[in-house]
Assembly symmetry: C2
Homo-oligomer: 344 residues x 2
DNA sequence: GTGAAAGCGCTAACAG
DNA sequence: CTGTTAGCGCTTTCAC
């Protein structure tokens, strides 16, 4: 490995001079010296050791993105957009894929605490990691939240979106389209429903159903793992041997499950949208381009990313400004999977 | 930030003792000392600064993954599987999303050269970055290639897969299913075809077509950007005003385009698979669960990831062992998009 | 203009 | 058993 020492030795100057020149520091160095340094750096193919510079100057010009997975297309999209935005601002992005596992989330947060990244954007968070979040809030390091519920009292910048409201909007829409029995397919939300529990999204769901006179019971929660295969299995099991579908409206928690759900219904001999209707969250391109395009509660990914990027950069610039709270609205995009009249 | 100095001061010992204890170094330290150190570390919520340890001991326990994007589901899958494998082995994974941009690829490779990661797995590479690859080969740092063509003379561990052969296999399959005019929709491959050029995948494609008596001309290359929207546009443009499809077989370069292609055909009034058949690469779950399941040339992602992980760990352990060359076979999975008799 | 020197936080060889 | 010391490669004052 070529170090500053090498280039100093060869160019015939001190390493501090070499450092100054190569970092373009505003100081008066003779033309010849400067050229000589640049030249030998070029010849030796010198690459500064970032670990060492990070240690010396206490920053990394890297922002972390804490994300549950990239297998769900919407997170892939978030990640790529953030990448683009931060690259433009001279920051690298370092994804931390946490798979909903608290120990990984903790590890990611530790990276911030250890100054491995200058800031962290949390695209989700779990309650189990509260300690770390509080600690980060005490340490006053830049943490920016994308959140779906009110993030309680933590003094972070937050970009809030109305995902949970979507359960109400989609339920109302399905009811408007004539559905009488609506199920929720997914993980956490569905399993709370199945066991008679409550939560913010379920509150919206139940209120919407109640307003339209639709009964909601634990059987409306269809629990499945995150993936088309698991969703297919879960719904197939439910349809087995039935001549009519057990539900005529399905709210599916993620794009990662919606095609499994639809295929299970089709394979069971039911028709979408005539007999059963299905809707989901996040407007991924597959939802638009599937042979049966899917109705979605669409979060404005691009704007959210802009807000996240901007908030992060602002926080980095002004560590002591008061926390910003931003909100974003989703839109209902109606497609064929819930409306026979749509061609798309 | 709490440092070793703090814990040494409070526990009443030298920082080196604290370092030894906290790293579980095999050395004889008195029980009380050890306990005191652990205790104060716990109380102060000490987190070692990884930048500093990396600098001091010259490794990061991190492996980089150079990847074109995560928006294409197959790369998302690669990334998540590698994540899992390396986490189990005690290594962190750091994705470098390069968007097919040489400057980003160079930056990723520089991270290896600068020892920001202990090893790098290149999921693809571009010719423009040859310099860096040669330099890495000289520096003898661990770089593992996943490649689709013979990687020339560079002495790296390689995991080769037969993606290019897929163009031949899919063409033969489409011909067997009765196709007479086969198009290739995509980026590089399609545009070379469109301008009459040649390449390894095109070689396979042309040979297969020739063997079945199918004519191939520049019009068979349908160029589109990476995404369903672009693919939809490109194919729609081609179909506009036509009562019969211009092609009866489509080989689509990526899952990221195949739904756009299919929807364009459907919207133009053509039927899949009756009038036009379509096939692609990578067996993503959306291909299985789309209302019209898609025929694919399926790379064995799981095995490849296992091989990549293992090769990387082996290389890290034995930096001087001779380079390993591994090969993996894909399989043709025939589904409804090319075969009317399939239900899936 | 340029060099000497201290220091970022941690590790590891060497003493004692 | 534990402390002293010398780095890792770079940045940044402060002198000359």
């Amino acid at each position: 490995m070529i170090t500053l020492k090498d280039i100093g030795r060869i160019a015939g100057c001190d390493i501090s001079t070499a450092s100054r020149v190569l970092n373009g520091k505003p100081c008066r160095v003779s033309e010849e010296m400067r050229d000589r340094i640049h030249e030998t750096a070029r010849q030796l193919e010198y690459l500064p050791n970032r670990t060492a510079s990070s240690l010396a100057n206490g920053n990394t010009r890297t922002v972390g993105v804490l994300i549950p997975n990239v297998f769900d297309g919407v997170y892939a999209e978030y990640l790529e957009r953030l990448e683009t935005g931060f690259t433009a601002a001279g920051y690298a992005v370092r994804p931390f894929i946490c798979h909903n596992r608290p120990e990984k989330e903790n590890a990611a947060l530790d990276s911030l605490l250890r100054n491995e990244v200058d800031a962290m954007i949390a695209m989700y968070y779990s309650f189990d990691c509260r300690d770390r979040y509080e600690r980060i809030s005490r340490s006053r390091q830049p943490l920016i939240f994308r959140c779906v519920n009110e993030i309680e009292e933590l003094p972070f910048d937050t970009v809030r979106m109305d995902l949970t409201e979507g359960y109400g909007v989609l339920a109302s829409h399905l009811a408007d389209m004539g559905c009488k029995r609506i199920a929720v397919v997914g993980g956490s939300v569905a399993s709370l429903l199945a066991c008679g529990g409550n939560s913010i999204p379920l509150g919206y769901f139940r209120a919407a159903c109640k307003a339209r006179g639709i009964a909601v019971g634990p059987e409306c929660g269809i629990v499945s793992g995150d993936g088309q295969d698991e969703a297919y299995e879960a719904v197939s099991r439910l349809c087995k041997g039935k001549s009519a579908p057990p539900f005529d409206g399905m709210i599916v928690q993620s794009t990662n499950r919606v095609f499994g759900v639809c295929k299970a219904l089709l394979d069971a001999g039911f028709r979408i949208p005539e007999t059963v209707k299905a809707a989901t969250f996040s407007d991924l391109s597959v939802c638009r381009y599937s042979p049966i395009p899917v109705t979605v509660w669409a979060q404005p990914v691009e704007e959210i990313c802009r807000a996240l990027t901007e908030a992060t950069l602002a926080r980095l610039e002004h560590p002591d400004s008061p926390p910003r709270k931003m909100e974003f609205q989703s839109t209902l995009i109606i497609r064929k999977s819930t409306n026979p009249e749509r061609n798309a």
